[in-house]
Subunit: 403 residues, 2 copies
């Protein structure tokens, strides 16, 4: 066991998820059990709250309150898009030093893992003992090492339920439907659109992700074929689809606004959906074409949580406290699949998870680049948990009056 | 009791809802109890399926299957946008005559009520005894006579949960968020965005509906004031907002596509959200502005049903069969509120519900035309049923190290 006596500091970074508070509360409640933990602080607005010393004392939050927060989507400690450099990270560990923080848990994606890595290195250099654990979260499922990321399952469930409903709607009043799903470089969330298909003709019939080059020609050919076959067509498309040169198809229509990380804004606009919709209307001469951009609902809709995702998010938070305080280790908590469906947790080196993200493997995408494989469905289905009832009428046709 | 021996015919028209199948199944199962009902048919694709004699024999559907269908969103019998004229309605009753249909139940909005009215008149003129009952459904809540419409509660719950999640997300990473909600002439669904606000600073902070003239000047003034006050701003806006001359603000950006009823397409495009977003960015110089159009998810998302809406939709279906077969009556099933919260059902004349729709009363909207009143909240809250847990962290602030 670590004999480091001092405080625990928890923070949440990047885009919220439906279960990020489970991880936070898991880390907090587990940390509160250890006698060498003098206090458990939560930083408001992620690392920004650390450098500004904007802390809540979570040792004095009630268990009921924390459990209610755990079941609340989005970052209860609020978040930040700040991406710290070395100087910023030095400030972080200096604040930790000033408050005798000895355990720092940061819940986030690959950028947050990188922050953990730098803070860990800088505190080592300064000779200040600080255990740093990165707790994984992302709806994009694009972290390296881990089998999958907490946060993905619930967002994937939202997308699956959205497209299952859209499919029922589109059967009732047929046409072409384009649903634009979050995902800048990784198509995992878009691919989840297929996870609640039940009958062979259910949509989505086409899936386009950033991992495969997108061309207008193939898209229109695919839509025409599906529409001719089914009398309707549902398409799931990632906001980050790219042409053969790696340029985002959406980029030219968003006015080029860039976020703090220098990325072009893809979410929070209907431009890509409307563009694809216009192509289908004008070039395929199909009249009823509708495009929705699923937008921020994917990561924050109240009341759509995968129970699997929920307990895994809780557990990675608990494991963070255990690795740091029982074992005196630094690293990134990761998930290994050991059964169908069963997982175990392990600690990966921070440098292996930091910075670079991953995307869908070739085995998850078909050769034509317009749909997923059975292997993807097998991978992703256990992560979204139980789905609502959905059934078609089973009744015989009636003969016409003259027959 | 009606002594008319013959068949029951059920059909579903217009846009699907989350609970329209409850009404259908309620009517079918209740009808199957009467000995004078020889068969219960379901027409596929609404009135189009009637004139084309495209029928399923629901007498031979199992109860388990029908109950599962009742719990499935969207129209299980599929739908149509056809709006029958007199000639079309003559065809409907002639098909009814050919099949000895004596009870026709049509689930839909005001256009469907009008179809019921004409079919009823034409069959009367022809001396063919046909009981016709309109069963109300619409997510827009814009039917006359009834206190509210089945279908609205579940769509309102979706909108309330969407904005509750958006509010949590927007607290974590502040900015301006614009959510465009369905509603061409009635703002009920947009107004539902406020129904899951818990803390005083929760969004949405502004609500714009078609019942009040929308001006760019007021909109920007309102957004600036809210943003200055809260450091963020969430806006719920109806797709059908109009300028002082009654022109849809969205109309000029959709290429003018019109549906079968001659209405300009408002849904299935992100144009209105993007327009408002551009105004806020350019004129208020606020950087992080996001717009989502909630789109078709509002009426078809799998797994978001108000339990109140669910049983009321079931009951209006059952009552349709009872009014027609026990009492030999024609009309439109309506809901009267008799307690907080309790309702009773009654039968309104078809002509009172047919054709013209209604919209939000003045008492539901504030004087400035940018928000709802407490009276609206009191009216709508019981309709959306139970909401998920949502709580903020309650913990003391920590003093800074130097303090």
């Amino acid at each position: 066991m670590s004999v480091l006596e001092g405080k625990v500091l928890v923070a949440q970074g990047g885009g919220p998820t439906a279960v990020i508070n489970q991880s936070m509360v898991g880390a907090v409640l587990e940390s509160r059990k250890f006698p060498q933990v003098t206090r458990v602080y939560g930083a408001l607005h992620g690392v920004r709250g650390v450098v500004e010393e904007d802390f809540l004392d979570l040792t004095e939050a009630t268990t009921h309150n924390l459990e209610a927060v755990a079941n609340t989507p989005s970052s209860g400690l609020l978040s930040t898009r700040d991406k710290p450099d070395v100087e910023y990270c030095q400030k972080i560990f200096k604040v930790c030093q000033a408050h005798n923080v000895r355990y720092f848990f940061y819940i986030g994606g690959n950028d947050s893992a990188d922050t953990c890595r730098i803070v860990n290195e800088e505190s080592d250099k300064a000779g200040y003992e600080l255990r740093v654990i990165h707790i994984p979260k992302t709806i994009d499922n694009d972290l390296k090492v881990t089998d999958h990321c907490p946060g993905y399952g619930s967002a994937a469930k939202f997308v699956a339920q959205a497209f299952a409903g859209i499919n029922l709607d589109n059967r009732a009043i047929p046409g072409v439907y384009i649903g634009v799903v979050m995902g800048r470089h990784a198509g995992f969330l878009t691919a989840a659109a297929v996870l609640d298909k039940k009958y062979p003709d259910d949509g989505p019939h086409l899936v386009y992700v950033p991992e495969r080059p997108f061309t207008k020609e193939q898209f229109l050919r695919d839509v025409k074929r599906a529409y001719d076959h089914y009398g309707r067509c549902i398409i799931a498309v990632s906001e980050g689809i790219q042409d053969a040169n790696g340029n985002a198809v959406a980029a030219q229509f968003t006015g080029g606004e860039k976020d703090a990380h220098g990325n072009v804004q893809l979410s929070g606009t209907g431009a890509l959906g409307d563009l694809l919709s216009t192509w289908v209307k004008s070039e395929l001469n199909i009249k009823r074409v509708r495009a929705d951009t699923l937008g921020y609902l994917q990561r924050s809709f109240l009341g759509c949580v995968s129970e699997v995702d929920q307990y895994e998010a809780r557990e990675v938070g608990e494991k963070a406290a255990q690795y740091a305080i029982w074992h005196n280790l630094d690293g990134s908590v990761a998930i290994r699949r050991i059964g169908d469906y069963a997982v175990e947790y392990f600690l990966a080196p921070l440098k292996d998870v930091a910075r670079e993200a991953t995307s869908m493997s070739d085995a998850f995408l078909n050769a034509e680049g317009n749909y997923v494989t059975e292997e993807f469905v097998k991978y992703a289905k256990p992560l979204i948990g139980k789905l609502p009832v959905m059934e078609r009428i089973a009744a015989p046709r009636v003969a016409k009056a003259g027959e």
